[in-house]
């Protein structure tokens, strides 16, 4: 009987020389990625987990049993009903963004499971595909129970099937990163940048907060997912090292592109959750502090170890760390009916906390909150329409997110003429990514251009219901209907 270490190479290193077809036909660049290298350049590919299928099945079975046990103990409807109202919106945001993106990751991993350039890589990617199926199914299962209580949880499944502006942006991101990426870009963009670089935000930061707020089901779900991610994320560095060796400039481009794109996504999903949806008394640090400790330092260290440069836009990134998610949050608050979760106005204590954590620009954001609060003060509780924007908001032609780059003094949106069409970008890095691969991006229409070409309705009620697929019941509202204990309204007779 062979020992494990003797047997594993037999099971994982299965490549052979082709005689009836060329290697390039078996692994075309369009699916395998570039730089295209003969297999001899990949034959030493390895990663530290070196899992066998038997081990995989045994481990996954134990993990699933553990998730089911936690669900039975603390994942029932009544457990969620006890959670703080703002936190439930962090849950709705994640519940929608997560599961079907994980399913797109299944597709991406299956492509790598076929077109990855070494059989050990393909084996790991196949396990990765099975992992991602699990990450699709667990949140769908957990959230399904909640739909009968709160229809906004129905967006766990519905989100990616809608043309809500956030769904357009998320699809644009995940389709490129996962569904359409070749095996090399998937490994660098997903396994290295997204999973190694960013998901600590979810798996360390947010799961700790979930524990603090008493959401033990969410905590268990993400920590269980994390154990899978930690394994298949190892594909990234092993691929990246070889890309760096043969085409350093391209490696740097992939790193810089996916760091920026991932940053924008996490700034919204995690930034909202940490700095606005977590009750103040449960916050241990701000989103920015968490980013600095868990993402910025670690990512720079990883780049240094690989001999790579930090992204050229690093100063822009550090500046956006101060402000971007705050700019998006208050903008989205004033257009909350366009999404499937509710928002809260930060209380005076929360604003003081945010000022303390974000001293550089908070004053400018705070002035906008003063305006929103004045509107609520002049309106009756529940009068959502009086505290809601009416003009059409605008979107970036690259990331598809709202044009909230820069600061309230200087918005960084930039226009571009390309191929007889006008484009607009929220930031220099988004413009730069578009400019590197214009043929990849130029055919896609952001929401404003869909409205202008009559593909989407211009009137807000029709846009929300016919295009975004929201209903009065599910569209976002103020979680408290503007009825905050700290918001002093004038006496009834004084309201105009």
């Amino acid at each position: 009987m062979l020992k494990r270490d003797e047997w594993l190479p037999l099971a994982r290193k299965l490549d052979w020389d082709y005689s009836y077809v060329s290697e390039k036909d078996v692994f075309p660049e369009v699916a395998s990625g570039r730089p295209w290298l003969p297999h001899k350049e990949w034959k030493n590919w390895d990663e530290p987990y070196r899992t066998s299928y038997t081990e995989y099945v045994v481990n996954q079975h134990a993990k699933d049993a553990s998730v089911y046990a936690v669900r039975d103990a603390v994942g029932r409807l009544s457990d969620f009903q006890r959670l703080a109202s703002p936190w439930l919106n962090a849950l709705k945001l994640h519940a929608a963004a997560l599961p079907l993106a994980e399913f797109a990751a299944t597709v991406g991993n299956l492509r790598a499971g076929r077109f990855g350039r070494d059989s050990a890589w393909r084996t790991m990617a196949t396990f990765g595909a099975l992992d991602e199926l699990r990450h699709t199914q667990i949140p769908l299962m957990v959230m399904h129970e909640l739909v009968r209580w709160d229809p906004q949880f129905d967006w766990t499944h519905k989100f990616y099937h809608s043309d809500d502006w956030v769904a357009i942006a998320a699809r644009h991101f995940f389709d490129e990163l996962l569904t359409a990426a070749d095996a090399i870009e998937l490994a660098v963009g997903t396994n290295f940048v997204f999973e190694t670089g960013f998901t600590n935000l979810q798996f360390v930061g947010l799961s700790a907060l979930a524990d603090q707020v008493g959401d033990h089901m969410f905590e268990k779900m993400v920590t269980s997912i994390q154990t899978d991610e930690a394994r298949h994320a190892q594909i990234g560095q092993a691929v990246l090292e070889n890309v760096i060796k043969h085409d350093r400039k391209y490696a740097q481009y992939l790193l810089d592109k996916w760091f920026w794109r991932s940053w924008l996504l996490f700034a919204i999903v995690t930034g909202f959750s940490m700095d606005y949806f977590t009750p103040l008394e449960k916050r241990s640090c701000s989103f920015k502090e968490f980013m600095e400790e868990w993402i910025v330092d670690q990512y720079l260290r990883s780049l240094q170890e690989l001999g790579m440069e930090k992204p050229w836009y690093w100063d822009t990134f550090l500046e956006s760390l101060e402000l971007y998610h705050h700019m998006v949050y208050i903008s989205a608050y004033t257009y909350r009916s366009t999404v499937w979760f509710n928002f809260v106005v930060p209380s005076p204590e929360e604003r003081a906390w945010l000022r303390d954590r974000y001293p550089k620009h908070w004053d400018q954001i705070d002035a906008a909150w003063d305006r929103v609060i004045d509107r609520w003060r002049a309106s009756k509780p529940g009068d959502e329409a009086s505290v809601h924007g009416q003009a059409m908001v605008t979107f970036c032609d690259l990331c598809q997110l709202v044009l909230c780059g820069g600061t309230p003094s200087r918005n960084t949106a930039t226009t571009l003429d390309y191929g007889g069409r006008k484009y607009i970008f929220c930031s220099e890095p988004c413009l730069w990514i578009f400019g590197r691969e214009p043929e990849r991006y130029s055919g896609h229409k952001e929401l404003v251009k869909r409205v202008l070409s009559a593909e989407a309705p211009a009137a807000l009620p029709e846009l929300l219901t016919r295009y975004f697929r929201l209903t009065p019941e599910t569209w976002g509202k103020d979680a408290y209907g503007g009825d905050y204990p700290w918001l002093q309204r004038p006496a009834a007779g004084e309201i105009g």
Partner: protein, 81 residues
């Protein structure tokens, strides 16, 4: 035919889309952006419309000022001096 323009009002957190008429004045364009952003930005009187780094004469029409569809204009506070 309305001209779609991206407008940024100083103090705001987002760019907004304004559908302007060729015959609208630059002044009324600035006013409309202020109105559209009023939920987040307090009204100011000392504002000017800037397009391609040029301060526009408020009495010009959108057409005379040369504003092109899907371009950005800014409504900014007047600088001292």
């Amino acid at each position: 035919m309305p001209i779609p323009l991206y407008g940024f009002l100083e103090g705001d957190t987002i760019l907004l889309l304004i559908l302007a008429d060729e015959q609208d004045t630059v002044r009324s364009l600035g006013e409309r952006l202020q109105e559209a952003a009023a939920i987040r930005v307090a009204r100011r009187e000392d504002l000017q419309v800037v397009y391609r780094n040029r301060v526009l004469d408020p009495e010009l029409t959108v057409r005379e000022a040369g504003l092109e569809p899907l371009e950005r204009f800014d409504v900014l506070g007047k600088k001292e001096g």
